[in-house]
């Protein structure tokens, strides 16, 4: 009977491909919408995730996200260094500055200050220039997207200058960086210089980055630092998640995107479910025939579910192809649910079908 189900499904090539296309399209809609949502949320934490060398972020307990850092005492670095099991601990600055372009325009930018000696948190991929040049006077490294934003339509070249808070800044390198939430340029500089660039009221130490010595577990070290300093100490992933939660809680993103995703789901579900449902309804007469000829309801149900599984699987395969991998699971589960519901609805029509209808 499975063979007959397969033949029914694939017998009309055009209808078969149409059904798969419908499911794939529904799948694409759902995965696209959720992928965009996930990637936007991810952007809110990209400056945290980019600092791959440090295990732990030591922050004020009141800090809610990387965009809302409370100041730490100036001697926090030394205090953290004093904790047993700390391999190293360095200061890290993150703040917003206003950069003045040569044309005289002012632009907002994200300023990251890296520890002067170790440059922990430095960009991992340099497109132009050398990381070591960050030690030159007034040196900054700008991310590629930021360069395009500050110098639109101009060739990428080093040694251009900006003015940040009335101080000269020389671009000594151009790098790759994960795109930030606000799509602003990212400027990397030394910690000491960052404090000069920052507006007066923001010249504090917002973050200490730390790494555990070999053999010391990160959670263990985190709780030691917390006990010794009274400061919150989070793993990189925890802080990223905290930041994402902050955005989920305190911005319109979840609502707006919730609506978009819900629409994607509804439209995707409608398309995918409807396509498969219609397919079964069109074949209702054939199912009725098989029923009259002695096919039991459980066999018919098996046939419908097999057809649903094939269409759902292939549709999912094609639909997810275009979407990001991170929503694979979500889309897979939704698709399974949709196709299952559609097939239950179709199967219901098959099961309650009056076999006497064959004579009509």
């Amino acid at each position: 009977m499975n063979w007959i189900a397969w033949k029914m499904l694939t017998g009309d090539r055009a209808k078969y491909l149409g059904t798969i296309f419908g499911v794939a399209f529904g799948c694409l809609l759902i995965s696209q919408q959720s992928a965009v949502f996930v990637s936007i949320l991810r952007r809110t934490a990209s400056q945290i995730v980019d600092v791959a060398d440090a295990d732990l972020w030591v922050i004020d307990p009141q800090t809610l996200s990387i965009d809302d850092l409370w100041a730490l005492g100036d001697n926090t670095v030394l205090a953290v260094r004093g904790v047993e099991g700390v391999e190293w601990a360095v200061p890290f600055y993150k703040g917003m500055v206003t950069a003045r372009q040569p044309s005289g325009h002012f632009r907002q930018a994200i300023l990251l200050g890296l520890d002067d000696s170790s440059l922990v948190g430095a960009p991992r991929t340099m497109l132009m220039g050398k990381l070591a040049d960050l030690r030159r006077p007034d040196a900054v490294i700008l991310d590629k997207a930021g360069y395009r934003y500050l110098f639109p339509d101009e060739p990428m070249e080093l040694w251009r200058t900006l003015e940040i808070n009335d101080r000269r800044a020389v671009i000594v390198g151009i790098c790759e960086a994960s795109p930030p939430f606000q799509s602003l340029p990212i400027l990397y500089t030394r910690f000491s210089l960052a404090r000069d660039y920052a507006p007066k009221q923001r010249r504090e130490l917002p973050v200490v980055l730390a790494k555990a010595s070999p053999g010391v577990s990160t959670p263990e070290l985190a709780s030691r630092i917390e006990t010794r300093t009274g400061l919150a100490t989070l793993h990189r992933r925890e802080f990223a998640w905290k930041t994402i939660q902050f955005y989920l809680r305190s911005t319109g993103i979840p609502i707006n995107f919730g609506i978009t995703i819900a629409l994607g789901f509804i439209v995707g579900t409608a398309i995918a479910g409807q396509t498969f449902y219609l397919f079964t309804i069109e074949n209702l007469k054939q199912f009725g025939n098989l029923k009259a000829m002695g096919t039991t309801n459980s066999r018919l149900l098996g046939m419908v579910l097999l057809q649903a599984a094939i269409v759902g699987g292939l549709g999912f395969g094609f639909g997810i192809g275009a979407a990001a991998l991170e929503v694979f699971g979500l889309t897979a589960v939704s698709m399974a649910v949709i196709v299952f519901l559609a097939s239950i609805m179709s199967a219901w029509r098959v099961l309650v079908l009056e076999p006497a209808e064959v004579f009509r």
């Binding site: 009977m1 033949k7 009309d12 000829m293 309801n297």
Partner: protein
Amino acid sequence: MSSPDSGVPAVRCLGVVRDFGDGESRLRVLHGIDVDVKLGEMTLLVGPSGCGKTTLISIICGLLDPTEGDIELFGTSRRLLSGRALVEFRGRNIGFVFQQYNLLPALTAAENAAVPLIIAGKPRGKAIEAAREMLDLVGLSDRSHHRPAQLSGGQQQRVAIARALVHKPRILVCDEPTAALDAHSGLVVMELLRTVAVQADRSVLIVSHDQRVVGYGDRIITMSDGRVERVERGVGAQREVRSLEAVGSGRVGS
């Protein structure tokens, strides 16, 4: 087989009543039908449109339940069969031929004819092999790889007959098997049913409007308005049985 009442009954209808609808719109379609369908015979069920022929055969082959009364199938009450047992009984014992052929468009002629065996759980290869032999009997051995869309109406109905007989059912039920066909194809189909389908251990029950068909029946049950009007002896058995070659070459009915 001299009187209409002789012969072994395969099906006995015992006061079969059937209503459709509820309350105000309740409609009695069959008003107590008492009739037998015998083994080894071709029984014709005739009568004006809407008199309840299709409803009666649907009840006889277990596609529909009677509102009142009972059906005995080979001496067993139809009431003892329900759900899965009824479906499987149908699959084993009844062959169907429909006015609109009802072949599965995605399957070839041989595959279509094999469906009842596949439903019964026979391996596909064996089933298709048996189906080919059946197609041979209905004169379509050269069309076994064609799909329904590539066959004429008459040929499709012959595939449907092969399908209806492939699992050697004890009852063959045909609802207007010639209604969608031209005169010649209709006769080919009736001739086939007469020569191939009628066997000592099978009863063939045919519903028809078609006057030309009457001459093929052994017994003719005439219905009108949900009642059996009369049962007559037919002349089907005395017909000169023509060879299939004659059928195929169009010399039938001339």
